[in-house]
């Protein structure tokens, strides 16, 4: 495998808009995907993720704006399959053709050595099924074949639209590892999902869209982890006394079964108050707002 020199922004989306009839699928969307990093492209159903990826790949014509790889549109790339590998949502194959023959056709078009076919087939774990007709493949096997096709040209950029669809838990774990490995080798990886939990373990950056518009972008922590308002969870030998002390200190205390929730205070502040009230603390921890909650908040309908 070749190692890629870290480049600047590999993929650039600038002011991209796409309108289907009356539907504004994507509106003035701008973001970058960096080489050597995995970027999660997140948004609820119908947010415009697939539309953006298809515009990037020249499959649909943007109403306005540009989507380029190192400044070139996909159609302008000299050797597209060596530059960009893509797995789209409904990866489809001729049912009567075997996986190997499907990849042979793509290798012929892209002028890749025939040996690549076997390499990618075994890389995705389809070596044994390679000569069976795709008609008999399970959804996960088709997904793996789509990934094999994307990897065929050893591309610098990988675009994956909901690639874990149809994969079993080992398949999902394999996918995460594959994505991390590709980024570690210097490739730019953009992976879309409507489920944050599916990608939160494998992405460095996130781009969040909803209703065709950018909602946030940056590192995973900065976008979804950053929580200005602390919240502390505490349990003690005498919850009533502690609750009274905290309330006296100006906190609004909520009871959550045997624990107290103290919004607006850090564990250090809560600990100090407990000490002053001479209550033995059994457990004390910051409560992180879950990533999923932050994601939901970001993508929630905006009412103006």
């Amino acid at each position: 495998m070749r190692h890629h020199a870290p480049a600047m922004a590999t993929v650039e989306i600038r002011e991209l808009s796409k309108r289907f009839g009356k539907v504004d699928a994507v509106r003035h969307l701008s973001f970058d995907v960096q080489a050597g990093r995995v970027t999660g492209f997140l948004g609820p159903n119908g947010a415009g993720k697939s539309t953006t990826l298809r515009a990037l790949l020249g499959l649909i014509r943007p109403t306005a704006g540009t989507a380029t790889f190192d400044g070139k549109r996909y159609e302008e790339l000299e050797h597209p399959s060596a530059a960009v590998g893509a797995v789209l949502e409904d990866a489809s194959f001729h049912p009567g053709r075997s996986a190997r023959n499907h990849l042979r056709v793509l290798a012929t078009t892209g002028r890749h050595p025939a040996s690549r076919v076997d390499e990618v087939l075994s890389a995705v774990g389809l070596g044994d099924a390679a000569d069976r007709r795709v008609k008999g493949y399970s959804m996960g096997m088709k997904q793996r074949l789509g990934i094999a096709a994307a990897l065929l040209g050893d591309p610098e950029v990988l675009l994956l639209d909901e690639p874990t669809n149809g994969l079993d838990p080992p398949g999902i774990a394999w996918m995460r590892g594959m994505v991390r490995e590709q980024a570690a080798q210097g490739r730019a990886v953009l992976i879309s999902s409507h489920l944050l939990a599916e990608v939160s373990q494998s992405v460095d950056d996130v781009v969040v869209i909803a209703n065709g518009e950018l909602r946030a972008q940056g590192t995973l922590d900065a976008v979804l982890g950053g929580d200005d308002a602390p919240e502390t969870e505490v349990s003690s030998e005498d919850q009533d006394t502690l609750a009274a002390a905290l309330t006296a200190a100006g906190a609004t205390v909520q009871r959550d079964r045997d624990k107290l929730l103290v919004p607006g205070m850090t564990p250090a502040q809560v600990g100090a108050i407990a000490a002053k009230a001479q209550v033995t603390v059994l457990g004390l921890a910051p409560r992180a707002r879950s990533l999923e909650q932050a994601f939901m908040a970001l993508t929630a309908e905006r009412r103006s």
């Binding site: 020249g58 489809s92 009567g96």
Partner: protein, 244 residues
């Protein structure tokens, strides 16, 4: 272009459609020939030419091209095809040329079979047979028409995008529309794309009336006109289309 062309030919060879269509075309063509040469009398060279003209082969090749291209939409492989070859114009040329080449191969095999079987049957019945120069003349005319029909099928498939509509449309056009046209206005019908102009090149008339035919050279030009027109239409549609 050659890589694209190779890939398209590989696609053709790696599904059963191609083999099934060639098989059916061979069987049907031979059946019709054997019945005809066994049962009816062949008194003129024209009769024999008509028997070797390979009408059914042409129809199968046309359907093969149309189904091959419309199948890209049916199986949703068009996305992966265009990702591999983003220049849609070049892709369409490669498709059309590959099916034209397939048409030539199929036509060569079937015409040769028809000529051998037909000549054996006719000579055993002491009917008129053709000399090898005439057979060669028929052969190349068949090959030209088959190449044309292969490409035309691809272009029809590009425009129609549905296998069923393409097949039904082609059959109706060939057997109802053009047939009616030959009955009503033969001067217009001889320019028609499926029977008229190809009949001029093959020099065999749809209804046996030689006066209805264009001269081979003119007919070839008319065929070029049809291919160019459908290519322009297909290319415009293919390039403008959003693949979602």
């Amino acid at each position: 272009m050659s890589a694209l062309l190779q890939a398209e030919l590989l696609k053709l060879r790696t599904t059963r459609t191609f083999a099934a269509l060639i098989g059916s075309a061979t069987v049907v063509s031979l059946l019709v020939l054997v019945l005809g040469t066994t049962l009816s009398d062949f008194e003129t060279e024209e009769d024999v030419r008509a028997a070797f003209a390979g009408d059914f082969t042409g129809l199968f090749i046309l359907l093969l091209g149309a189904m091959g291209m419309a199948g890209e939409w049916r199986h949703k492989t068009i996305t992966s095809t265009i990702l591999a070859a983003p220049d849609r114009l070049r892709l369409l040329v490669a498709k059309a040329v590959s099916y034209a080449m397939a048409g030539v191969v199929v036509s060569f095999v079937i015409t040769a079979a028809l000529m051998i079987v037909g000549t054996v049957i006719l000579s055993s019945r002491d009917q008129v047979t053709l000399d090898s120069a005439t057979l060669l003349d028929i052969m190349w005319r068949n090959l030209v028409v088959s190449a044309y029909l292969g490409a035309l099928g691809v272009l029809i498939g590009t425009i129609v995008r549905s296998q069923v509509v393409a097949i039904v449309g082609i059959l109706i056009f060939a057997f109802v529309v053009e047939f009616t046209l030959f009955g009503l206005v033969p001067d217009v019908a001889k320019f028609s794309p499926l029977n008229g102009a190809p009949g001029g090149v093959i020099d065999v008339s749809f209804d046996g009336d030689q006066t209805d035919l264009l001269a081979p050279g003119i007919a070839a030009l008319v065929m070029l006109g049809w291919v160019s027109t459908l290519f322009a239409a297909g290319a415009a549609l293919l390039r403008g289309r959003d693949l979602t």
